[in-house]
């Protein structure tokens, strides 16, 4: 049973990159990715390279037992494992040398779990070792997590603990979104531009007047809508030498292979209790950003934009209320092109109709509603070595 919407931002339009919100987890990704830790690869396991490149999901999808409050983790793990581009990276990691290191290395434990899932003939396996490993990194067992938050945590742990720099780069390429933030003084021509990277686009589901947005495209458009900072939000302008009204806008620079969208289906009331927004919000199976965003919301050339065509890959859905609920994942197998629903140990093949059911409905509060959406690029732009080999 997992919480949703605990940490990951407020409903007021917070346009700060998602990474800034995960401070409680102390797992940050570098903004402006300048500093890259480069560590020498210390050991290699030749056995693993032989496994490398094998398409995952050999038989049927395999479930993961719930260890107690791990439905959120299970759902996210399934999303990672069903992504062959991710497993292509995971299978090439360096195996830690010592037993203790092995025990506490998240990528390695994930790989072990993946192998267990693929080799076993069982319908579900137990992610116990990974769970213990994560608990060493402040992801406690038997604690309710928000899926968006846990996703960031997991990803950051992965990035931190994968030693090979090329793999780290691949991982970043696979998931990070590049945007450019613009702050323009409305009094003079002073402009501040800054590039930042994000792992997810935290999309509000209500607009400024608290009206419900009813399509994903609307959410995206609203997210990229320029905002005037006035009154208390005014910024200091260096040229004017005082606080002035600024226009804040965001431009899309680059979109990754796997695009993660976070529907902020919760809002804070005065009583500081969050409640879930379960209203109908439609998302498409195919998403073309060029059709959604206007020219000035993009900061990219045509060849980049040409790749902004996506297909829905996975939906992490939540049922229940904010403090009390259940996560499951709908994932489209990239090899079979079939949808599966993962409810912990229970896996079954489903159809698009089932996925559509997670659009939500106001009158049904306990129903599964989409919370995280994962889109996959239709045509990979520059075949990175890992991916190409993997294919």
């Amino acid at each position: 049973i997992f919480l949703m919407g605990q940490v990951s931002g407020r409903q007021e339009r917070s346009k700060k990159p998602e990474v800034a919100l995960s401070e409680t987890m102390e797992a940050e990704i570098e903004v402006q990715n300048n500093k890259k830790e480069i560590e020498e690869v210390k050991a290699k396991n030749p056995k693993l390279t032989s496994v490398f490149g094998v398409a995952d999901l050999k038989n049927e999808a395999v479930g993961l037992y719930n260890l107690g409050q791990t439905c959120c983790l299970n759902s996210l793990l399934q999303v990672f494992f069903m992504n062959i581009r991710f497993t292509g990276i995971l299978r090439r990691i360096t195996v830690p040398s010592s037993a203790a290191q092995k025990r506490s290395n998240v990528p390695y434990q994930m790989l072990l779990l993946l192998e267990k899932m693929q080799c076993g003939k069982c319908k579900a396996v137990c992610p116990r070792d990974l769970a213990y490993c994560l608990s060493e990194h402040r992801v406690k067992l038997f604690v309710q997590y928000d899926a968006a938050q846990l996703f960031l945590t997991l990803w950051n742990l992965l990035k931190k603990q994968i030693r090979k720099p090329e793999l780290v780069e691949e991982l970043s390429d696979l998931y990070t979104i590049c945007i450019q933030e613009h702050l323009a003084c409305q009094k003079c021509s002073f402009e501040i531009k800054s590039n930042s990277t994000m792992l997810t686009l935290p999309l509000p589901v209500l607009d400024a007047n608290s009206h419900r947005l009813s399509t994903l495209e609307d959410c995206l458009q609203y997210f990229f809508l320029p905002e005037e900072l006035t009154g208390q939000n005014m910024c200091f302008c260096q040229q004017c030498g005082k606080k002035t009204t600024f226009l804040q806008s965001m431009r899309l620079v680059h979109l990754p292979q796997t695009l993660t969208l976070h529907l902020k289906r919760f809002c804070f009331e005065r009583s500081s209790r969050t409640h879930k927004l379960g209203h109908f919000l439609q998302f498409p199976q195919e998403l073309n950003f060029r059709e959604v965003l206007t020219e000035d919301q993009c900061q990219a050339d045509d060849s980049e934009k040409a790749t902004w065509q996506y297909e829905l890959f996975a939906v992490v859905a939540h049922s229940g209320s904010t403090g009390f609920g259940h996560y499951c994942a709908y994932i489209r197998s990239l090899t079979e092109c079939k949808w599966y629903c993962f409810n912990d140990s229970e896996v079954c093949q489903v159809s698009w109709d089932d996925v559509k059911c997670t659009y939500g409905r106001s009158s049904l509060n306990w129903r599964e509603t989409a919370y995280l959406l994962f889109y996959m690029k239709k045509h990979p732009q520059q075949p990175c070595p890992g991916v190409s080999e993997c294919l």
Partner: protein, 1060 residues
């Protein structure tokens, strides 16, 4: 269906895969087949888990035992010999291979079953062709199949969950037992290695139990997820059904059978209730054994919430109004209710689950939450408003509550006070006021109690049948445009209708009334009429334009509904068989007919007359452009006595050569008239005149006189005496005598109207049957005199300038004029012309439209002439009207002179003179008579002198059918008797009187406007509607714009009377 059975019914290609699966398998297919049901019933996957070795062993041995039993039960037949051998071999092999590792065997079976399921899925999804014939008689849509497949999967998954639950029970019992026996914490035992081992076993058992609990919970989560999808699909199906029901209410096509939905809802409901039981049982298990981080503690409340919400939602949406409120009516139009008349409505609960011992009560309320509209009427439902939900004896009938024989009564203390007057005060008229009936049901089943409710579609409550048509218009508009069935305020600001949608709905109206919808061309014409231009996809029609009065004096809808009524009553078959082109604009009509040969005609609906149908034919002239003729529209009042095919068959045109001919030869495009309409002609009675027959056969036919340079054709009703095969229009001596003085008028030549009086003082007129007399005048300047002997004479005038005289003897004569400038006179007993009968009854002449004339007799012997509205007529006018003394009775003369310009009238004056003056527009007359005389003439033109004066006859019945003043030279009177001389004298003296009456004063005033008005009166319809497509357009150059006074003669009147 059991898995193995399904596998066997797969298509060949998939069966092949199954064969391959078992070819290399350690489990022979023979064993699978022999123990199919048992194998599928076990949880092999569970048994294959390393920790549950006991389970796997137990299963393995059970299988061997069962196999042995199976072998024992096999007979000694030849075919079973091989099977026996195979099974025996399998038993040996299995025992040898898996005795040591039953888990391996469990794993093997689990994998086989899983693989079978995979093949099954493939086969059932892709194997449309060649797959096993499923026992479904009707081809089902993909949607239905999908729902059924999902329901089946749901139930399979539910069974699996139940199986897993039973296994969980076993595990828990085992653990519970071990725990009670072995767990004895005491000092010193912690070092006992045996005890430690037992504790470890116990720990393992608990682990196992915990995992099984989590597995069951995950299964239930999954089940709830799938049922959410199922509910979503059912919701869509139900939505589709609602739309179909709404369309069906409007007369559209659609199947509103609820049976499949009921089955699906019930199955899903059953599944959810089962799941609910399961969840309760899980809670019971938790009561017995719980531990730290027990998943049951954490997760069951969530599952309960989800399940409760789903069940509630399912049940709430399953309560539907199956039959919308309706009263029986010919148009099969539901949702229009009339106060005090009975109606019925029915609701159904699609989830057919109930407790037989618990009676559920359904109630109905009307307007439970009335909208805040001023003057909104309130109603009570008379008769009982509650009912026990009946399950019916057979489960097929379902859970239904039907309310029949309901009646509505308006609350006297409605907001605006007196109930009657409220309708006009609110912003909504009665027919735009929408009402709702709400059904509520106290549902209880298996401990779940819910208050369900559903509402009908909004309906309109009327108090009078004449509101029906506009009420139906409201229903059409609402159901076409509203997606919210509870929007009672809809007509506070009704949205416009997109034309394509409206077109479809209009077509349904025709479809449901006469089994043929509207063609593209029909709709195009209607669109142009409504929109004024060619319709585009986003053209919209505002509500007032559709339903409120238009320029013609009636709304578009009233016009269309008039046509629908006409179709339903009289023309259903012709419309259905596409003989009526119907909606054709005049322009289009000309275009169609232009290229056709002379005599080609088409049937279309009148645009100026409510519920009128007419035909137009084309005539080609040498060297000239073709001319088109249309006959004055027929309405229900005419068609009720004469069917349209018969009218077409017998239609006559009076031409100059005096040979009547039927100008209707070919039905457009090119079908011979009799070929097209032959099947619809009524049986013609061959009139063989024998001695037993008292009367000649007769039938009504329609004729028109040709009016040169007139587009329109005048037409009257004639009684034709049918003697032989030929129709004779000539009065025949024999005939008239036999008929007791049945005269026939005959037009002599074009444009020369003549009235032919019959024998001894017989009036002209039409008697449709002995005793009743009815006269119908249809054109300007025409005259009709009708008289009858016994019944109630009645005259109906429908056009400007027409005139009618009806007379009867005993009944109450009544004349009704319905149009501008119509005069009506009523006369009673035979031979006596009384404009106003004054004897005993209360005769009344009523005129209802502005410019018409009303003659009302006052008390005994005091005639009164009253006219309403513009052009009023007063008894105190210019002395034009005079009562005439009759021989016996006090003289009653009422005379009508429609006068548009001013008033015109004389009070009953001196004795013995009656005068009637044709007034303003040159229509008019009056007849007077004595014994047996009836007099009537149309005074088309009364210029200058313009008066008509009847002469009272003393003993002999004089006849003065007359044109006065500048009588057109063509006009001739054909005396039917010897009274001609007197007649002529009468005329002369009449004109003398006229001068004395100083009409001249009036006349100069009349002359001016006359010329102008005359144009109008010449083409009668012009008075009504300048846009009438029947009217000549300027480009019809053959027609003189201003017809000459004298060449444009009034139409011919032919009258016949049949009285004994």
């Amino acid at each position: 269906m059991a898995q193995w059975q399904e596998v066997q019914s797969l298509a060949n290609t998939y069966q092949e895969q199954v064969h391959q699966l078992y070819a290399g398998s350690a489990l022979p297919m023979a064993v699978r087949q022999c123990l199919a049901a048992w194998i599928e019933d076990q949880n092999w996957r569970q048994a294959a888990e390393p920790l549950s070795s006991g389970h796997a062993r137990m299963l393995f041995h059970s299988l061997l035992v069962l196999l042995g039993e199976c072998l024992g039960s096999l007979g000694s037949g030849h075919e079973e010999f091989m099977l026996k051998h195979n099974l025996r071999k399998a038993q040996r092999d299995l025992q040898a291979e898996f005795e040591k590792q039953p888990e391996g065997f469990a794993n093997l079976v689990a994998n086989l079953l899983q693989e079978e399921r995979r093949i099954l899925r493939l086969g059932q999804a892709g194997g449309q062709g060649g797959s096993a014939p499923v026992a479904s008689p009707a081809p089902e849509s993909g949607r239905e199949q999908q729902i059924q497949r999902r329901l089946a999967e749901f139930h399979t998954a539910l069974q699996e969950a139940e199986r897993a639950f039973r296994h969980l029970e076993d595990l828990q019992d085992a653990f519970d037992f071990c725990y009670k026996v072995h767990y004895q914490p005491a000092e010193g035992r912690s070092n006992d290695p045996g005890y430690i081992q037992e504790l470890q076993t116990l720990q393992a058992k608990l682990q196992n139990l915990d995992r099984q609990r989590r597995e069951v919970l995950a299964q239930m989560q999954q089940l709830l997820g799938r049922s959410e999808t199922l509910q979503e699909l059912l919701r869509e199906e139900l939505g589709g059904w609602r739309v179909r029901q709404q369309r069906l209410c409007l007369g559209g096509p659609g199947d509103t059978n609820l049976r499949p939905l009921e089955t699906w809802f019930t199955e899903l409901g059953q599944g959810l209730f089962q799941l609910r039981q399961l969840l309760r049982a899980l809670n019971d298990l938790r009561q017995k054994v719980t531990y730290e981080r027990d998943p049951l503690v954490a997760e069951t409340p969530l599952l309960e919430q989800r399940l409760q919400e789903q069940l509630t939602h399912l049940l709430k949406s399953a309560f539907v109004v199956e039959q919308q409120p309706s009263t029986p009516n010919p148009g099969k139009r539901p949702l229009v209710l009339r106060t005090a008349s009975k109606f019925s409505t029915r609701a159904r609960l699609l989830v057919r689950l109930h407790d037989r011992n618990h009676h559920m009560e359904a109630r109905i309320h009307i307007d439970r939450d009335p909208p805040n509209i001023k003057g909104f009427r309130k109603f009570n439902i008379l008769t009982s408003s509650s009912k026990t939900l009946l399950a019916g004896d057979s489960p097929q009938e379902g859970l239904v509550c039907e309310f029949q024989y309901l009646t509505l009564k308006e609350q006297k203390d409605s907001r605006a006070g007196k109930g009657k007057g409220t309708s006009g005060e609110g912003p909504l008229v009665v027919t735009e006021e929408l009402h709702l009936i709400t059904f509520t049901l106290a549902y209880a089943y298996c401990g779940l109690e819910l208050e369900l409710e559903t509402t009908t579609l909004p309906f309109v409550i009327i108090s009078n049948n004449n509101q029906f048509s506009s009420a139906w218009a409201s229903i059409l508009w609402f159901n076409m445009l509203s997606s919210d069935p509870k929007a009672q305020q809809f007509f506070s600001s009704p949205p416009p209708a997109p034309w394509p949608q409206l077109a479809e709905v209009l077509s349904w109206q025709f479809q449901s009334v006469a089994e043929r919808g509207l063609s593209r061309d029909n709709l195009l014409m209607l669109a142009e009429k409504l929109l004024g231009s060619k319709p585009s996809l986003d053209s919209t029609v505002p509500w007032p334009k559709f339903s409120k009065d238009g320029p013609a004096g009636f709304s578009f809808w009233a016009w269309l509904d008039g046509i629908l009524g006409l179709l339903q009553e009289h023309l259903k078959q012709l419309w259905k068989d596409e003989l009526i082109l119907g909606f054709v604009s005049r322009k289009q009509e000309k275009k169609l007919l232009k290229s056709k040969r002379t005599g080609t005609f088409l049937l279309r609906f009148s645009e100026s007359v409510l519920g009128g149908v007419t035909f137009t034919w084309v005539e080609h002239h040498e060297g000239g452009s073709p001319t088109f003729h249309a006959v004055d529209p027929y309405t229900a009042s005419e068609l009720v006595s004469l069917a349209l095919p018969d009218i077409i068959r017998d239609y006559q045109m009076m031409v100059e050569e005096n040979i009547p001919e039927n100008p209707l030869k070919y039905l457009y495009p090119n079908t011979a008239r009799d070929e097209a309409f032959g099947p619809y002609y009524s049986q013609r009675q061959e009139g063989t005149l024998n001695e037993n027959q008292k009367y000649l056969n007769r039938r009504l036919i329609r004729v028109s006189s040709r009016q040169p340079s007139k587009w329109q054709t005048e037409e009257e009703l004639v009684v034709a005496t049918e003697n032989l095969e030929t129709l004779q229009l000539q009065p025949r001596g024999q005939g008239t005598q036999q008929a007791g003085g049945l005269p026939l008028s005959q037009p002599q030549s074009s444009g020369t109207p003549q009235g032919t009086p019959g024998n001894v003082g017989t009036p002209h007129g039409v008697a449709t049957s002995p005793g009743t007399l009815q006269g119908v005048a249809t054109r300007p300047g025409t005259l009709q005199v009708a008289s009858g002997s016994l019944g109630t004479p009645q005259g109906v005038a429908t056009r400007p300038g027409t005139f009618q005289v009806a007379s009867g003897s005993l009944g109450t004569p009544q004349g009704v004029a319905s149009r501008l400038g119509i005069a009506q006179v009523t006369a009673t007993s035979p031979g006596t012309l009384q404009v106003i009968p004054g004897s005993l009854g209360t005769p009344q002449v009523t005129a209802t439209i502005p410019g018409t004339l009303q003659v009302t007799p006052g008390s005994l012997g005091t005639p009164q002439v009253t006219a309403t509205s513009p052009g009023t007529l007063q008894p105190t006018g210019l002395g034009m009207l005079q009562p005439q003394p009759q021989s016996l009775e006090p003289a009653q003369v009422g005379s009508g002179v429609p006068n548009i310009q001013g008033t015109l009238h004389g009070p009953p004056g001196a004795v013995g003179t009656v005068q009637v003056l044709p007034g303003g527009l040159g229509m008019l007359q009056v007849g007077s008579g004595d014994l047996g005389t009836l007099l009537g003439e149309q005074g088309t033109v009364a210029v200058g002198t313009g008066t008509l004066q009847p002469v009272p006859g003393a003993v002999e019945p004089p006849q003065v059918p007359e044109e006065q003043g500048t009588l057109p030279p063509e006009l001739e009177l054909l005396p039917g008797s010897q009274d001609v001389q007197e007649l002529l004298q009468g005329l002369e003296s009449g004109s003398g009187t006229l001068e004395m009456l100083e009409v001249a004063e009036l006349m100069p005033n009349m002359v001016e406007p006359l010329g102008e008005n005359f144009q109008l009166s010449a083409g009668s319809a012009a008075l009504l509607d300048r846009h009438d497509p029947f009217l000549p357009l300027p480009e019809d150059s053959a027609l003189p714009a201003v017809p000459s006074l004298f060449t444009d003669l009034p139409p011919l009147q032919i009258d016949a009377s049949d009285f004994q």
